[in-house]
Structures are given as C-alpha cells and as structure tokens.
Symmetry: C2
Subunit: 481 residues, 2 copies
Amino acid sequence: DAFATPFFEHVDDSISQYIFELGEAVAIPSISADLPKHLPDILRMMEWTKDYISRLGGSVQLLPNPIEKDDNGHDLPPILLAEFKAATNSDKKKTVCCYAHLDVQPASKEDGWHSDPFTLTEKDDKLYGRGSTDDKGPALSWLWVIQAHQKLNVDLPVNVKLMFEGMEESGSVGMFDAIQILSKEGQFLSDVDFFCISDSYWLGASKPCLTYGLRGLAYFSVSVQCCEQDLHSGMLGGTVHEAMTDLVQLMSSLVESSGKILVPGIMDDVAPVTADEEALYDGIDFDCEAYKRENKVVATKLMHDNKKDLLMGRWRYPTLSLHGIEGAFGGPGAKTVIPAKAVGKFSIRLVPNQDPKQIEKQVAEHLNKVFADIDSPNKMEVTLLHGARAWLSDPKHPNFEAAAHATEKVYGLSPDYTREGGSIPITTAIEEATKMNVCLLPVGACDDMAHSQNEKYNKRNLINGVKVLGIYLHELGKFEG
Amino acid sequence: DAFATPFFEHVDDSISQYIFELGEAVAIPSISADLPKHLPDILRMMEWTKDYISRLGGSVQLLPNPIEKDDNGHDLPPILLAEFKAATNSDKKKTVCCYAHLDVQPASKEDGWHSDPFTLTEKDDKLYGRGSTDDKGPALSWLWVIQAHQKLNVDLPVNVKLMFEGMEESGSVGMFDAIQILSKEGQFLSDVDFFCISDSYWLGASKPCLTYGLRGLAYFSVSVQCCEQDLHSGMLGGTVHEAMTDLVQLMSSLVESSGKILVPGIMDDVAPVTADEEALYDGIDFDCEAYKRENKVVATKLMHDNKKDLLMGRWRYPTLSLHGIEGAFGGPGAKTVIPAKAVGKFSIRLVPNQDPKQIEKQVAEHLNKVFADIDSPNKMEVTLLHGARAWLSDPKHPNFEAAAHATEKVYGLSPDYTREGGSIPITTAIEEATKMNVCLLPVGACDDMAHSQNEKYNKRNLINGVKVLGIYLHELGKFEG
Ligand SMILES: [Zn+2]
Ligand SMILES: [Zn+2]
Ligand SMILES: [Zn+2]
Ligand SMILES: [Zn+2]
C-alpha cells in the first residue's frame, strides 16, 4: 500500500519522540476532580496541545466553557476545537471529528503506585503514568497521525477536526451544552460526516475490538419514612411500623439472586437477538474464567458459564443492581437505631428499545402495588433520579467498516464487535445532536488500569494505535464527499 | 409520721442549697465519651463527691478501675465506694447499696441549648443543665438524704452504701469486672441486702413509677460477599450474583411490616401474660396519641391503637429491628456500585425466658435455610455480635414494696409498675453477681431530655426525689436484719 508502508515505518521510527511527548503531557497533573486547585494544570495542558496543533499548521481555538462556573462556583476549563483541512479537494473530502479528553483522574504515589504517577515510566514495554491510556495517549495519537502525513508529504484523505475537553473525568461539565451549540447550522460540528472516540478499552488484553453498543440507565431512589427523627430500638421497638422493614420488603421485590428482574413488563421492549447479532459473539476473544479471576469474584460461579450468555448478560440485557440504603446505619459495629427514613438506591441498566420513562412507570407501579400489599401506614416515595437510553450503532456502518479495515491492516485480524455494559453519555449526545455516526475505536488494552493505580499504556498499543488511526482516515477517505 | 414530717420540712427548706450544689456538680464537664480530654473532669467530679461524703462522716475510697486502659490506651476513672453505717444496731440493720453515675453525655451550646449546658440555669421551675437529671441530681440526692438525717439528728434506719461510677455513658467500662470482684465473700457488695438504681425515667411527665423489667438484646450481623472488591454496575452488572440482592432477600425474610417476626420458633419461650401482670397495665398513666406526637411519628398509625397492646409491644414481647447495611452505598446522590460485601445489621429485643444462645441458633438456622433456597453461589455468614438476657423482677418483692410505700407517702398515689424496652446491663450484672434484688426507682420525668439538648430536672422532681429516697430507707428499715 502506497501510504501504509512508509507510514508504518515512520511510526516505528518515531517511538522515542512519542514517548518523550507523552511524558510531557503526563507530567501536567490536569486533574478535573480537583477544581480550582488543578484548573491551571488543565489550562496548561490545553495550551500545550493548542501550541502543538499550531506548530502543525492547524487552526485552533479554545472555546470558553458554556457553563461559566461549576456547582461550587469554580471556573471551568474551555473546550479545544481544532481543524486540519486537506490541502487539496478539501471541499470534496469527508470530514471526521475526533473526540478525546485532556483531563485525568486523581493519582498519588501513596495510593500504591510503583512509580510517580506524573512521571511517565517505561518498564517491560509498558508506559506507566496517569493519563497514559486515559486519554492522553489516544489524544496525542491524532496529532502524531497529522504529523506523519506532513513528514511523509502526504495530503490528508479527509478533513480532520479535533474536539478535546478538560472535564470528562468530572461529568463533562459544559460539554453537552457545547455539543448542542456546535451542532447548529454553520457551527463547528455541522459539517462533520463521521465521529470517532478513542476513550474505551479492548475487551481483552490482546485482541482489538470496535464498540457498537452501550447500555442506558434508569437510577431510582425509593424512600420509606416512619418518623421525623431516628428512634431507639429498645425504647420504641414494637410500637411503630419501622421504615427499614418496609424498605427491605420493597427492595427484595425487585430482583432475584439469579438476576431475574421481578418488575412486571420490564422485558417487554427488549430487542430480540437477531441472527446477525448472535453471530458477532462466536469469534469474540473472551475467557470466562480469566474474567472471574480478574474481577476477584469469590462466589463459586458467575451468572452464566459460557461466553455468549455472559457477554449478553453484560451488554444486551437489562440488569438491576441494589446499590445501598441512605439514612440507615451504615457504619461498623452495632448501633440500635430505628432509622426514621430509609432511602433505597437501585438502578436498571437499559438496553435498546427500552424507554426510561416507560421503565419509571413500570417500577413505580410495581413498588406501589407491593407497598399497598404490605399495608403499611408509613410514607413511601419512588423517584427516578437519572434516566438515559441505551446506545446501539450499526457495526456495518461505513464508519465502523473503515475502522475494521484499518484494524485488519495493522493487526492482521478482524476486530471483535463488542458492546459495553456502562454508558458513555457523550456518544449519545453527539449522535442525537448531529445525526451522524459515532465509532468507538478503542486503542488501549483491558488491563490498562484506567482510573486505578499504575495506569499504563503498552508501547505496542501506542504504536499500533497511531497506525490504526492513520489508516482509518484513509479508509474514510475512500468514501465520496 | 415521726420522721417524715420534719424530714419533708427540712427538704423543702434546703432547696437553695440543693440547687447551689447541683450547680457545682453540673459545672464540672465530666464527659466520659471524650477521654482523655475530660478524664481530669471526671476525676474532679469524683473528688468533689468524695470530699462531700467525708464531710458527712462517711468512709469513702476510690477503687482503681479494674480495667487499666480503654481500647485506645487511655486511663480510666476509678469507682467511688462509700459507706454510711447506722450509728446504733448497725449489725442488725439491713444494708442498701445505691448505684449512680457521675459522668455525663457530651453537650455544647451550639447543638441547640438555650443556655450554657454546664451552667445550671433555672427557668419556670426547671433546672437546665447537662447531668441535672442523668444522673448527678439523683446521685446527689442520696447525699442530701444522709445530710438530712444528721441535721435532724435521726439515726439511719439501714446501712447505706454508695457505688458511683464515671464511665456509664461510655459502656460502664470496668464496672462489670468491679461488680464481680466486689461481690466476693468479704468484699464491698457481699453484705448488701437491697440495691437501688435511680438512673431511668417515669413513663410520663407527672406520675411516678417503679420499673421491674427490661428487655434483653441479641444483635446480629449477616454478611453476603460476592467479590473482593466493589464492582461497577455498568461494567459487570449481569455477570455476577450480587451480594446486595441476596442480603436484601435475607433481611426481608426476618420480619413483616406488621412487626411479626418470621424466624421459626422465636416466640416459643416467650413467657405468657399472667393475670397479675395484665392487671398492672390497667391503671398505667399513658396516652397513645401523645406518645405518637412526642416521637414525631409520621406514619398514619402506631403498631397498636390501645395502651395495653402498645406497652406490651414495647416491654414484654420481642421485636426485630433492621438497623442498616454496612459496606453498601449509604451516601446521598447516585452511585452505580455493586458492593463486594454487604453486611446487614439487625437486632431482636429479648423478653423473659428467651435465651440469646437459643435465639442465635434459630436465627442462624432460618437464614441458612433462606440462603439455601435462594441457591446463591455467594458467601454468607451470620454472627451474633452481642447477646444479653432480659431482666424481670418481682414487683411484689420487699425492695419494690418499700419503694412503692415511699412513693405513696410523698406523692399520695401508687406508682405505675412499668418495664422498659431497652436494657440497663448493670442491673442484670448486679443481680447475677450478688443474687440480691435491684429496684429501679426513677425520680426524673419522661420529658427530662437525658442525652439530648436542654436536659433538665424539675425542681418538683428534685424535692420529691430526695423525699422518696429518704422514706425508702425507712421503709427498708422496717425489715429485720
Ligand atoms: Zn477517558
Ligand atoms: Zn476516564
Ligand atoms: Zn444515666
Ligand atoms: Zn445517660
């Protein structure tokens, strides 16, 4: 391939430069959880990236955060918007927008890091450092792809836009408003044809994948109140209907140990498994026993004993988790309190076709019925705290096909098509605002320990990641404007 | 009555002195919850009392706490032991030992006190201050009774021993060991005939009572573990059997909203209601609606709609309370965690004839059966954290009869015979070690707010309390040595 061969060679030759530059980025502790203390670091990281883009000849601006202050009154970082137009025929070429984030999770050596988290440290072909894989490595990879084109004197096959934020690890504050604004006619996102996000991970440690689905969420609280103040179980036990007794009855009516959700109608809208979908599971590289080990499961078995059922349980069926109880005694030891008001927290992971509003209705009806059957004189209330639909893309969409071809060219094998059980709200926000396809194209491995101690990015993933993203642009370039 | 008339007159005349001295005692912040900070204050309170007793001519010693250090390595206060022997015929006279405590609950103005908690403040015939009713007022009353006899030149009708501790509000650390030691042949408690404790409250605000029963306690934890570390419900929900799901099933199997305990066999040993016992309830001064109001119950009704059933539910039947869950999400807001290990806390208030060991066996068998039915692969464990039998005395015992007669002479009416739903472990400890009768003789009112803001002691209760305790000694003196 006229481009791939010299490109791959260039990338292989540039590894020292990449590691040096990733080290510069990791050294900036751009921790968004700790505003205002680290706001200057996030700004510094933004400026560092802006300067890099300017040196590469891109146009770049820092869009002030649409939300002026966070809930605590602190200033918020801007959003970096950049563009590299193809030198020739840019009007006829497609435009891809790559999203990434420049902020990181907190980290400190005392938490159990083997090396300073803000000093990129190479060991056994792994690059240890906070943000190495989440998400500074992938973010910089886009810049290195542009740089490679310039060094090799190859025009960009598509116009490339970059949208990098600095609040992802803290709820992407301002980003959802920004996407609304930027998607309007004539704005930054209005001419984008494809989106690509490299901010998730392979299912395993060795085989690349593309992610085409995410579950949604309906998060509930259910409260029962018997009194205005906590009571002493010795003094008053036996004279009042206790809130905790009722709440535990309500919570136990929601789900069985087997995982079966007991809310009537909850499975009605779940999309059936198609033959096409089922076929995607057969080749997936996944080891149930390794999964059990990695997650330190002490139960004698997992929910399912085979790969397909286990992954379907994780990705494509709703699940209900009981998270805990607010207002009850949660400490160690023995306290003889009758809680005045106990608030159960639970959530249902939603799958395609499930509507949070409909789920809310079913859950409320069910709990109201159970509470009526209990015949308690206490006060009960069900509240949907947060609702978000599932996201499901078409793995045969040209955007995914381009990513698959790029993966094949670099790794010599087809990617697994995976979903994730959790949600990445920015994905849905972009698709809904722009009506364009988003491809989740992970470049890091499942054992990269994002958010944990000793986060790392494999040198192999770094090199191959740059290669995949570069070829991906050329695959997109095959589509007509 | 030769003694009562001048005695009552003396007490009425001494109110200014009593208030002044109670003020001195309240001014010493002898807070046992805050060792070592307040240890010097507890010691000062002990010395203050010791000096007072010495001035009255009693013999007094401070017994070093049998437990040298508390769990945090802090020194513990001693136990005050004093004796006033009758001047004549002391060998033929009975001996009564009065227990009280000189330490207090924490308090600070900022918590919502209308006046400084450590400055005894008189308002509307109420004496506000921390420890005024719990338990410095009652403790000093014994000294005032002795003083009155000296002022009136009347010999003591019984030998009087005092046992005052300084750790009651913090678990009576060392007191249980001390009781064991002091009950041995030839030791301080070995010749005591009657015990009296004034450290509880009337059932209501206006009618005196004697307390002849306390419930016991079996406090349990039940834990379910699925993993060694908390999981994310998005990432892993649907692949593991969740600990919380199982725990809530277990907890919901214990008790119904109606209060009915579902553990098989749990009611087998409950003593039946006798006609004698039932008769005690009829005259009791108790208002269900006022009780509902005072405890700020928001439920539409109490567990029972009549006095007898409500008090029996509170005093003489076992109750099961679910206190909370350790290890689950207990904070405000929405966190999508699958707790790795959730530990439910619950306790059963025990009544006469119930054995904590037997209850433990029944609860463990029940939960093991429910867990087996669930067929969960998780790990489950039931633990009895604390067990104590109920205490039930004979309201017709001479000790109680003496207290009843004293109450009648002072108040002109017979006391109610009450039980309490909670436990006062020192009561059982004394009875088991000495085999002698303990009378719980409350002198404070139900609305004295012990342990709460604006604790107070009514002037009326203070005056009548000294009178009742004085006459009580003379009633005991009628029994032969
Ligand atoms: Zn990320
Ligand atoms: Zn992250
Ligand atoms: Zn007390
Ligand atoms: Zn107390």
